[in-house]
Structure formats: structure tokens, C-alpha cells
């Protein structure tokens, strides 16, 4: 990516936010911004970057927006008179909460989650429809449809600040979803795909720059860094999954771990605790252990006990069982697991079988463990995980 491209990508959401704030109408503003970006991509490399690139883009996009109006209906022509009374580009440019403004707009509750994700990557991340489609392994037309429909729905919606806390929670969920999609993708076709993990971290950093005191925003950024730190060791050379306990820790990303630990330590000391902070704290305990045996499982269990109160859910329950078994032994863990499995949300879930298999193996029941690994392998929707579970079962064959 050239310097101009990088600059344009960084400025695009800011310019879009400025236009939406001024004129409303997300879709027409986005068209205008696209045209301004195209003009800049043509002119800047030849004529040089203007002194105030953001102001230049806002002025150019505003003109395009007005030209669109000019070609529209008579009713809109009357509105144009009002807009022209205020010449574009004169208004002081606010750079304060551009990312947040756009994120809140893209994550409106009226949109479905897949639409929120697609629109966020498009409008805030500046990815093309083709890049988003490749990242999610769906045809470009599907993503294009989601984005245009989302824009239709946003037509006429006003930006207001009243329900921010809940909507900020939706923004964090969308960012985490983008991260998870990237993090759990197998490395096989990574070359042709946009790195959603890096994109999610970049957007969360931008959000944190605008909301540095929000503990959950900081917690989410820390969680992403502390999780992504392990990515180099998550799979072996053949692409097979390597469980945490067997990972080569020298391959973990030290810089990410240091930054993540610093962020989460700061957040826990200064803000009310929340689910992202607790998950980040758990990731930090794993990342700080020199080897698997040195992991402070008692600390992790305490954190899961807290998480179960703050944000209960079936996956939290299961992960807590894993920590419980590490502290109290596999047999006690199996009792705890049987109790957890009574939750209807976990009925037939392959993770229950996978954990049961592991605990049976640790307690010396090879035949039971093998059957449970195979049961889990038949139910997972992940090919790499299926391969892993099948190989665990194969090792127990007598």
C-alpha cells in the first residue's frame, strides 16, 4: 500500500462521518466520499498531498453531494438552496469522535449482525466489497446486497447520542466478531484474504483513542492483542491445530503480550469490571506463564467464577469446567461437566464431548476417552478441529 492509499484509508471514515453529520443520508454521503477519494487517488500522487488533506476531501465530497442533489427532484432542489447558503468546507472540522460516530451508525439495532459487520468493514475499515466477500468466503454479490440493504435501512436515521451505552456494546460485539472470524480462520488460504484480525485490532485502537477511559473498550483491545499474540503458534507447519498446552511459547508475539498486559492492568485498576476485561485477564494469565505447567489455574478459575456472574453463558460454563478440572483434578471435573451439560443450550454440543474426552483420558479411561473424542469429531463444524479430535482418538487405539 502506498503512502497516499494509507492516508486515504485512514481519512475515509473521518470524511464520511463529517458528511453524514452535516447532511444526513448515509448512502448518498458514501457515494460522494467515494468520488472524492477517487479524485484524490488520481490527483495527489501527481500534484502532491494538499496541506489539509482532510479538509480537501470534505470540501470535494460536499461538492459532489450537492451535485447529486442538483440532478435530483425539484423538492430536493429547494433543500439545495439551504445547503448552498452554507458554503462547504468552511465549517471547523471536528476530528474528535469520527470513528465512534460511524461505528455507532453501522451497528444500529435495526440492522442484522451480518449487515453490521459488512457495513463496519466497508464504511469504517475502508475495505472493498470484494475484500469483505473473500474474507467471509461468500460471493461478492451477497456482501454487496447486504451493504446496499443496510444503507437503505439507514436512510433518514439521525445520529443521536441518547442510547450510546447499549449501542457501544453492539459496536464492541461487532469488532470482536470481526476479530474472531479472522483469528479462527485456518491459515491455508490466508494469502488471498484480508487479515480481519489486524483490521479488528486497528479499528479497536481507533475507538480506544476516542474513548480511552472506557474499561471495556480497553479490555477488548487487550483481549485481541493477548489472543492474537498466540497466533504464530496456533497451528503447525501442516496447518494442524496445536492446543495451548503444546504450543511453542517462544513463537508468541512478545510485544503484543506486553502491550495487552499493560492495557488490562490499567483498565482493571481504573474502570468498573466487565466481560471483555475478565476475558483479557484470563488470556493474560495464560500468556504470562513460562510453560503450560506454570499456568496459574487457580487464578483463572477465580476469573471464570467472576465472568460467570458478570456475563453468564454456556461457553463460559464449559471453559470454567476446564479450569476447575485443572485445579481439582479430572474426576471432580467430570462431575462438574455432567452438571454443566444439563443446560439445554449445551445439549449435543461437541465441546461437551471434547472436554469429557480430555478429562476421561487424564483419569485413565482410554476407551471412554476415545469414544468421546469420536463423538465430538462427528459433531464439530470445523474441519481442523475434526482432524485434531480424530487424531486424539487414534492415539488411544489399542
Amino acid at each position: 500500500m502506498s503512502d497516499v492509499e494509507r492516508l486515504l484509508r485512514e481519512l475515509a471514515p473521518q470524511v464520511l462521518a463529517a458528511l453524514v453529520r452535516r447532511y444526513g443520508g448515509f448512502d448518498t454521503c458514501e457515494d460522494a466520499v467515494q468520488e472524492a477519494l477517487l479524485a484524490a487517488a488520481r490527483q495527489w500522487p501527481v500534484e502532491g498531498v494538499p496541506d489539509h488533506p482532510k479538509g480537501w476531501l470534505i470540501t470535494t465530497a460536499s461538492r459532489r453531494r450537492i451535485e447529486q442533489w442538483r440532478s435530483d427532484t425539484a423538492r430536493q432542489r429547494r433543500e439545495e438552496a439551504v445547503v448552498l447558503a452554507e458554503p462547504p468546507g468552511q465549517e471547523p472540522v471536528s476530528g474528535v469522535d469520527d470513528t465512534l460516530t460511524l461505528l455507532l451508525l453501522c451497528c444500529r439495532p435495526s440492522l442484522t449482525r451480518p449487515s453490521q459487520v459488512a457495513l463496519t468493514l466497508r464504511a469504517v475499515g475502508g475495505l472493498t466489497t470484494a475484500e469483505i466477500a473473500r474474507a467471509f468466503l461468500v460471493p461478492e454479490a451477497t456482501i454487496g446486497q447486504r451493504i446496499s440493504r443496510a444503507k437503505q435501512k439507514l436512510k433518514g436515521e439521525q445520529l443521536t447520542g441518547d442510547d450510546r451505552p447499549e449501542r457501544l456494546a453492539a459496536v464492541l460485539q461487532v469488532l470482536y466478531l470481526i476479530f474472531t472470524e479472522g483469528h479462527t480462520a485456518s491459515s491455508g488460504d490466508a494469502l488471498s484474504r484480508v487479515d480481519l484480525t489486524t483490521e479488528a485490532i486497528r479499528l479497536t485502537r481507533q475507538l480506544r483513542a476516542e474513548l480511552p477511559a472506557d474499561g471495556e473498550v480497553t479490555g477488548l483491545l487487550a483481549l485481541m492483542l493477548l489472543t492474537d499474540a498466540r497466533r504464530p503458534a496456533r497451528a503447525d507447519a501442516s496447518g494442524a491445530l496445536v492446543p495451548l498446552a503444546a504450543q511453542d511459547r517462544s513463537r508468541w508475539n512478545r510485544a503484543f503480550i506486553d502491550e495487552g498486559v499493560e492495557l488490562i492492568t490499567h483498565a482493571l485498576a481504573t474502570a468498573p469490571v466487565g466481560p471483555y476485561q475478565l476475558q483479557a485477564a484470563i488470556a493474560a494469565v495464560h500468556d504470562e506463564a513460562a510453560d503450560a505447567e506454570a499456568t496459574d489455574w487457580a487464578e483463572i478459575l477465580t476469573l471464570y467464577d467472576l465472568l460467570r456472574v458478570v456475563a453468564p453463558g454456556p461457553m463460559v460454563t464449559l471453559n470454567r469446567v476446564v479450569a476447575f478440572a485443572q485445579v481439582h483434578g479430572p474426576r471432580a471435573g467430570l462431575v462438574e461437566l455432567a452438571e454443566a451439560a444439563e443446560d439445554p443450550a449445551l445439549a449435543g454440543h461437541h465441546r461437551v464431548d471434547a472436554i469429557r474426552a480430555h478429562l476421561l483420558e487424564l483419569s485413565g479411561d482410554a476407551a471412554g476417552a476415545r469414544a468421546a473424542y469420536l463423538a465430538a469429531a462427528r459433531r464439530t463444524l470445523s474441519l481442523p478441529e475434526q482432524a485434531y479430535l480424530q487424531s486424539r482418538a487414534a492415539k488411544l487405539e489399542t
Binding site: 451480518p114 449487515s115 461468500v138 460471493p139 446486497q145 497451528a235 495451548l244 463444524l381 470445523s382
Partner: protein, 118 residues
């Protein structure tokens, strides 16, 4: 999440289709067209196809025999590949296919390359 919806026909559903008037058949096709339009508008339909009747089925491999396979009690009549938010949503869509009431409709998740944290 990606799901395949498999739509099966059977001799009864086939007879019902063949016994329809032109108007009824057109209405049936229009119903499917509307479903497709709705699924396109929501960005949930990746691809769907209606398959030829089993008369045109050819089998390959060691058990290869020549057709026709029209005697088959149950045959695949069409499929949808959907990308939707949850299994519940996929089931909701599948229930809208007319075959759900007089044929058979199956929903199956697609395997992915995503590996969880182990």
C-alpha cells in the same frame, strides 16, 4: 453460518405437481421467485438450483447402472446454499418451502475451515 437446504420430492409430490393447472404451476413458481427475491434482498442466498427429474440421473462408479431412476421413492429435487445468522434462521427459511409440507426438506450445516482455540 452456511447451511445447505436439501429439498426432496417423492412420487406423491411429483403427481401433485404434474396434476396442477398452468395457473397453479405459475403460482408455485412465482412463490419460489418471491422467496428467492426476499433471500437475495437479505443477502442470505448464495446459490440455489432446481434439479432435473430423476429420469436424467446418471450414476458413476462401481455400482454404475443405467437409469432411469424414476422409481426412486425419494429424490433430490433442489438445493439452496444459505449464509445466515443462526441455525434457527436457516430452519425458518426452510419451513417456507412448499415441500416442507408434502415432501421432505433437510437443513445441514456446512463444515468450515475455522479452528477454535484449543
Amino acid at each position: 453460518m452456511k447451511y445447505v437446504v436439501l429439498i426432496y420430492g417423492n412420487p406423491e409430490s411429483r403427481k401433485a405437481w404434474e396434476g396442477m393447472s398452468d395457473e397453479q404451476r405459475a403460482a408455485g413458481l412465482a412463490y419460489y421467485q418471491q422467496l428467492n427475491d426476499d433471500l437475495d434482498a437479505s443477502g442470505e442466498r448464495i446459490v440455489s438450483e432446481r434439479l432435473a427429474f430423476p429420469e436424467l440421473t446418471k450414476r458413476v462408479g462401481s455400482s454404475a447402472t443405467d437409469g432411469p431412476f424414476a422409481e426412486a421413492k425419494e429424490f433430490l429435487a433442489g438445493f439452496y446454499l444459505l449464509d445466515c445468522e443462526s441455525e434457527d434462521r436457516a430452519l425458518e427459511i426452510a419451513a417456507k418451502f412448499p415441500e416442507a409440507s408434502f415432501g421432505k426438506v433437510e437443513v445441514r450445516p456446512v463444515m468450515g475451515l475455522h479452528g477454535p482455540e484449543l
